[in-house]
Amino acid sequence: MTPLVLLQCALLAAGGAFFVIGTIGLLRLPDAWCRLHALTKVDNLGLGLIVLGLLPAAPGVAAGLKLLLIWLVGLGASATMSHLVAHAKYYREQPYPAPDEAGAD
């Protein structure tokens, strides 16, 4: 068990812990806004730590870059989806804003 493998295990375990925390938040938090907030932990830190943990074992620079690309695409997708969910929920709960009072964006 070289130090590198230990470091990888620690990173993977931390990533997994963030997944668990985010999932508990998703299941137990009272409100959609809070649940969205919990999910960002999962996507940013959880996925990022797992990718970082897998990077030293990647079989080449190209594979490592692909791993980082996966993380970036995952970030972009989750950011957009969080925005869409929040947007839809906001406009479902607020009355439709009249043209002169522009809604906060």
Binding site: G76, T80, H83, L84, H87, A88, Y91, Y96, P97, G103
Partner: protein
């Protein structure tokens, strides 16, 4: 590489999400768990060393099916509640008995002889492609794939026929959102390029017409959901010809065999590559259009109107 802990957990996760999807009382939750089940199935295919199946399951089984089912749930949630399952315990008992019999048959199965593997390996150079699954799909068992195209085309035309019963065409329901527009502006060309790559790589690596067509359809669905009107989708000659093109081209390729004195759906080794690549190109487009039109054929919903700006 055997990983009993990983695979055992995967199987348990598959069973758990399936239970959640099928036994949950809330329809929305059931469909979301079904999408999760589809993604776990894609992982299972990776573990079973079937990357073509993983691609297809992720794109079709989890992606497109999930989108279709979510669309339906939005409409069905407003209905009257339906009765509880009848005689659940008796049914489960009978199914358990059936499962026990099947399990015993599965465990007692004889080791299949390796004859097919050798025959396949010997025939691969004549197939025109170097990826075995593509060779089996398009060349050795091309007739089965042709029938599959028939099923797809029949489903698309049936749903088009049902759609024509509606008085006016369904309105283009979409989300108007700047972030979505930017995302789609980035993603749509990427998905087009990836679909072309999957089609092209299908002759040497996992990929092929079905995965590429599914990705095309998914990209088009994304465009539609963000408000981009795709001009080819109203019922008309472009749509009809596009849907039928894959079927017709595949049929023509299959019937070219008898013209050269061979059985139908058999190709001469030197022209096989060219024929298969061209058939796959048309198939990719046609499958994409078919899957897309199956998605857009849903009857309209009388919602309160999408809010948002």
């Amino acid at each position: 590489m055997p990983q009993p802990l990983l695979d055992g957990l995967m199987v348990l996760a598959l069973l758990a999400t399936a239970c959640g999807a099928l036994l949950s009382r809330d329809l929305f939750r059931a469909v979301v768990l079904f999408i999760a089940f589809g993604l776990l199935m894609a992982l299972a295919w990776v573990r079973l060393r079937a990357p073509d199946l993983a691609l297809a399951e992720a794109a079709i089984g989890a992606g497109l099916s999930g989108a279709l089912l979510l669309d339906a749930v939005g409409q069905l949630r407003r209905g009257e509640p339906v009765a509880a399952p009848r005689r659940p315990r008796l049914t489960l008992l009978l199914c358990l008995a059936l499962g026990g019999a099947l399990g015993w048959a599965l465990l007692a199965r004889p080791t299949p002889p390796a004859v097919m593997a050798e025959t396949l390996a010997a025939a691969m150079p004549d197939s025109g492609v170097s990826h075995e699954v593509t060779a089996v799909l398009l060349n050795f068992r091309g007739f089965d794939t042709f029938l599959e195209i028939c099923v797809l085309t029949a489903a698309a035309f049936t749903s088009l026929a049902l759609q024509s019963l509606q008085a006016e065409p369904p309105p283009l329901r979409h989300l108007s959102n700047r972030v979505l527009d930017v995302l789609v502006a980035w993603l749509a060309p990427l998905m087009l390029m990836l679909a072309f790559y999957l089609y092209w790589a299908g002759s040497k690596e996992p990929g092929g017409a079905f995965q590429a067509g599914a990705l095309l359809a998914a990209g088009a669905v994304l465009l539609r959901l963000s408000g981009v009107a795709l001009p080819g989708l109203e019922p008309g000659p472009f749509l009809r010809f596009g849907l039928a093109a894959g079927f017709l081209v595949f049929l023509a390729a299959g019937l070219s065999g008898p013209l050269a004195g061979m059985p139908p759906f058999t190709y001469a080794p030197d022209s096989a590559h060219l024929i298969l690549v061209s058939v796959e190109a048309v198939l990719t487009f046609s499958i994409g259009l078919t899957l897309l039109s199956l998605f857009t054929a849903a009857p309209p919903v009388d919602k309160e109107g999408g809010r948002g700006h």
